[in-house]
Amino acid sequence: MSLRGGQEFSANGTFRVLRRVCKAALGLAALLVIVWSFLHVAWREGSRLLSRPNSTVLTVMHWSGDGGPEEDEMVERSMRAFEAAHPGITVRRINPGDMGSFYTKLQTMFAAGEPPDLFYLGAERVASFASLGLVAPLDAFVEADASSSDPRALHLDAFFPNCVEAFRYDGTGVGRGPLYGVPKDFTTIGFYYNKSLFDAAGVPYPKADWTWEDFVATARGLKRLDGVVGAEFVTWPMVLRAYLRSEGVEARGKDFDDVRLRDEGVFAALDRLRSWRHDEANTLTGGKSKLASGGPLFTTGRVGMVGPFGRWQVPQYRKITAFDWDFAPMPRGAARENIVITVAWSVASQSRHKSEAWKLARWLTSPESQAEQSRLGLAIPTLRAVAESDAFLDPNALPANDAAFLVPLRDPSYVAKVIDWPADATYEQLLGSRLDAALLTGARSLEDAIGDFERAWTQHRDSPLARGKFEPFPWSATVGVMSVLLGVGAIAAVVFYARGPGSRSARREERAGLLMVSPWLVGFALFLAVPIATSLFLSLSAWKGLSTLDQARYVGTTNYVQLLGHDERFWRSLWVTVYYVLVAVPAGQLFALLAALLMNSKVRGIGFYRAAWYLPSVLSGVGVAVLWRWVFDPEVGLMNAILSPLFGLVGLSLPEWFGKDAAWLGPPAFAIMTLWSVGGSMMIYLAGLQNIPQDLHEAAEIDGVGRVRRFFSITLPMLSPVILFNALMALIAGFQVFTQAFVMTSGEPGDLTRFYALYLYNQAFDLYAMGYASAMAWILLVIILGVTLLLMRTSARYVYYEGLRS
């Protein structure tokens, strides 16, 4: 009817012309939008370059710390001023956001062979970057400046030596050798304390020279207040090592292979910390709360002290209006030691404009820049003169005692050094993760946790991947062979096509079809097929993801052998994932089916209910994960609030989902969370249910079958193909769980929620072990393929496709 009407209209010439004009206008508008958006970006980037002809372009990359947009603007301003002062140089600034994104982006740029000329580098990464030859030594520039009369020249002795040393690396250890960065800011660590709570409890404020005994006595004093926790003590590996140093002991011997956690002093110090946390209530927070990364907890006003933290908390805490607060340096134990955490501007060794980059680094660390920066609150100037000036010691802004940050550097009896880490970040990750089992969650004894660490670290350290020498990966041969294979394939395809059957018109249609899908085909080949093939080759190699591909080494099947035979973290991650799948898939499908049965009823407003049930499935994964982190919080979470009457009745203590019960409750917690977003499956089930002819139910009803039997003898078999489909989809998704774990637990505590995909991510983007990660990806593919095939093959026994065809 409508078709006929349309023809009548199009017979009308005016209308036909009008329609064509409309179509053309729409097409033109779409084209304009596309062209405009490209032009806009090109213009934005290009206009400044054009306005500065013949200038050198410097790429600079940084992140916004807790300073946020203000810090961003400040850097921008500073760079424009630099451009104005140096007409031959144009600065292109890249800010990928937070620190995590920063290092991922940096890694990609390095791997692509196009690193930024100048970039932030945390002291903890100097060893790994310098040992890979990614950063340029700056000593020549320093020497040249020392003898220069240029007022902008940089004089290294004006900086705190503790910060400068942090960026020296001689191939074996930090503190000696060439300089790899100009320190831009730093911090020492200590505790932020709630003065109002101290006053209420009648506890004296910490003194600059306080001891750990003072600290714990203070905490015990504070917890006498109702609902108040004495202190929140974070157990990051860096902090733990700082704590040990303050007791005059070290976690390592002459090198990192020499693990000294069982030494009397080390063990006693760790055990004391464990005891404060777990043997007495509320002195130190038990680490139950996942929100206990400390910072936000302090703002609630229910924690007396938080730390050990650096200067970075200040911008956030300056917003506190409910109570007064201040900062005290980390207490001392047997030794007077604190640590320096610092970030520098480093120059990429591949940079073609090193001297310009040096000029910019010098500019950005000048007294003026540092003074401006420290006014934002979060950074302590690395220049002594600026740090000791009012720019930092600002008497008008909190904390009142800014000088407390400088105590470890001013006092000659103090030692304040950077914490050094091996080039292989696995050490730090394992140390934190394994000791947390004892210190944070208390699920393992300290003895066992140390044993766990030693075993995992030894296993990693002694692997052929870490120790072995390998030949470079034969890329040219690989590419050659692949090219030949692809060429032969292409020729075969053309021949096959040319000789294929079909009339001329069918051919023409086929050509048109191929032409139309070609954008997708090209995209698929370039962005999927090639990377997939590359990952297969990478899985046979050892390649630090920070260097370019030509640095890859051929290791044969070593990655696979190591994974399957010598990596207990791999097996743990596989178990965590399988455990999750075993819970999440059946529970999720059952839940989705029940929901669909409910949604299949004819009640008023059913459309609303369906939409409401479906809604969570369209929410962003990260947002949902953040939300559920709160839900599962053992102290303030909704889940335990709901469970508490039940558990109280039975007399059980409430579960600590991601704490000490994580081994058996962690993965199910994620499964429970998945139940919230079964909307997609539910919709498919609903469609399946509505596809079952009503006749069948009526026939069965008349045949004398009740409601429940009808469900099992008609609904279920008729729905079986849909169930198989949904279950397969859920299974495949289940094996790939990543976002929730990444956001909610980061795999902690102690690898107990480290899902397969998360471990793969850690290997690839935290430890830069791309070959290892690629091998993991292929193993996962085989596992999923195997499980899927198994299900499909056996499905004939319990799936009735007849239901679909009727």
């Binding site: 008349i702 079958v705 008729m718 079986s720 009735y800 007849e802 009727s806």
Partner: protein
């Protein structure tokens, strides 16, 4: 075998948009005897299926009472009414074989069904096996009756439409229910197959001697199958009677028009009394004028009226010579159907259809004499109800 009684049965749908709801069936009252074959017939939307589904227990009854074997079953769920139903779309369980489909209802009714109990107790196992044998025997017997023995282990999708409908019937008869219900079971089949199945169903009814209620929109099927026919229109029963009675003595103009192929000729006209020849009344519809014997249509009053005459009672040409009424007519069209011919005629502005023997068919365009006996004529009131006046 059972009796079924409907007392003022009605169905009102409340979700019909109007506040008082939509009345799909109103005041249906009749009873069905043991072993009777009753057909509910009417155009689509007349409420016949709703009525059947109320009897089955698939639709809640909103007014009146339904009795099976003398007991009110209004509130009884379908599965307890001991009835069987055959659906238009067969409603076979696609995931079960023919054998399993037929045994389905029996399997659900067995008293010793538990496999677990059979494993544990020998006595139970014996009883369970006895039951299984009984079920198998009944299925085998039904399959034999319906010629399905060769197809017992096939799935419904492997069968033709006719075979599927046979399975659906088989599924009913193994249960040996009190009442059989059929909801347009043949309408998905082609004409030839439908004819065959019709006679099979008749035969089945004779063999089983069961009470059957059958719904169709096809009046020919209704006439061919039913012991009695219930004609429905807009939720109201128009007439209940044997096929011949419905055909010969339709209760009103609707029934007259609905039953019979081709449709009855209806002519709008007026009735004059006391005019013309003494002892007759005159039906006038210019240019037609028919004298009717006085007293034959006693209920008819002078004024507007509708006259009906069935096409097979009209005669043409020489055959019309002895008719009590004759007129000249023009032949508009002739449809030769082999064993008979349908002749479309025109008298003035009136169209008439006559069904005659093939050798009597005139040529198109010719002028012929058309005639009929006044005893074959029916008179209906000209109002909406159109009640037959004699």
């Amino acid at each position: 075998m059972a009796t079924v009684e409907l007392k003022g049965l009605g169905k009102t749908y409340t979700s019909g948009g109007s506040p008082e709801g939509v009345r799909a069936v109103r005041d249906a009252t009749f009873s069905i005897r043991h072993g009777e074959f009753v057909v509910l017939v009417g155009p689509s939307g007349c409420g016949k299926s709703t009525l059947l589904r109320m009897i089955a227990g698939l639709e809640p009854i909103t007014q009146g009472e339904l009795l099976i074997d003398g007991a009110v079953v209004n509130e009884m769920p379908a599965r307890q009414r001991d009835i069987a139903m055959v659906f238009q779309n067969y409603a076979l369980y696609p995931h079960l074989t023919v054998r399993q489909n037929m045994a389905f209802g029996l399997e659900r009714r067995r008293t010793h069904g538990s496999r677990l109990a059979a494993l544990l107790s020998g006595e139970y196992r014996g009883k369970r096996e006895d039951e299984s044998t009984a079920i198998a025997q009944r299925v085998a017997k039904a399959a034999e009756t319906l010629g399905l023995v060769a197809h017992l282990d096939r799935y419904p999708r492997e069968l033709s439409g006719g075979q599927r409908q046979r399975v659906a019937v088989g599924r009913s008869i193994v249960r040996d229910p009190k009442v059989f219900l059929f909801d347009e079971p043949l309408s998905n089949l082609d004409a030839k197959l439908r004819h065959e199945m019709r006679s099979e169903l008749r035969q089945l009814h004779r063999t089983l001697g069961a009470t059957m209620i059958y719904v169709t929109h096809d009046q020919e099927e209704a006439m061919g199958l039913g012991d009695r026919i219930v004609v429905l229109r807009d939720g109201l029963i128009q007439q209940i009677g044997a096929p011949s009675e419905i055909y010969e003595r339709p209760a009103n103009r609707f029934v007259a028009g609905f039953v019979g192929t081709p449709s009855i000729n209806l002519i709008q006209g007026r009735l004059h009394r006391g005019e013309g020849t003494a002892g007759v009344e005159r039906f006038a519809a210019d240019p037609l004028s028919i004298d009717l014997p006085k007293g034959r249509f006693g209920a008819a009053q002078p004024g507007p009226i509708v006259l009906g005459v069935r096409p097979d009672r009209l005669r043409i040409g020489s055959a019309a010579a002895s008719s009590t009424w004759k007129s000249e007519a023009t032949v508009v069209a002739v449809e030769r159907l082999g064993d008979r011919s349908d002749v479309a005629l025109r008298v003035g502005q009136h169209s008439l259809l006559a069904r005659v023997a093939p050798e009597q068919a005139p040529t198109e365009g010719a002028t012929v004499t058309v005639g009929a006996d006044t005893s074959d004529m029916l008179l209906f009131a000209a109002d909406d109800a159109g009640v037959r006046l004699g």
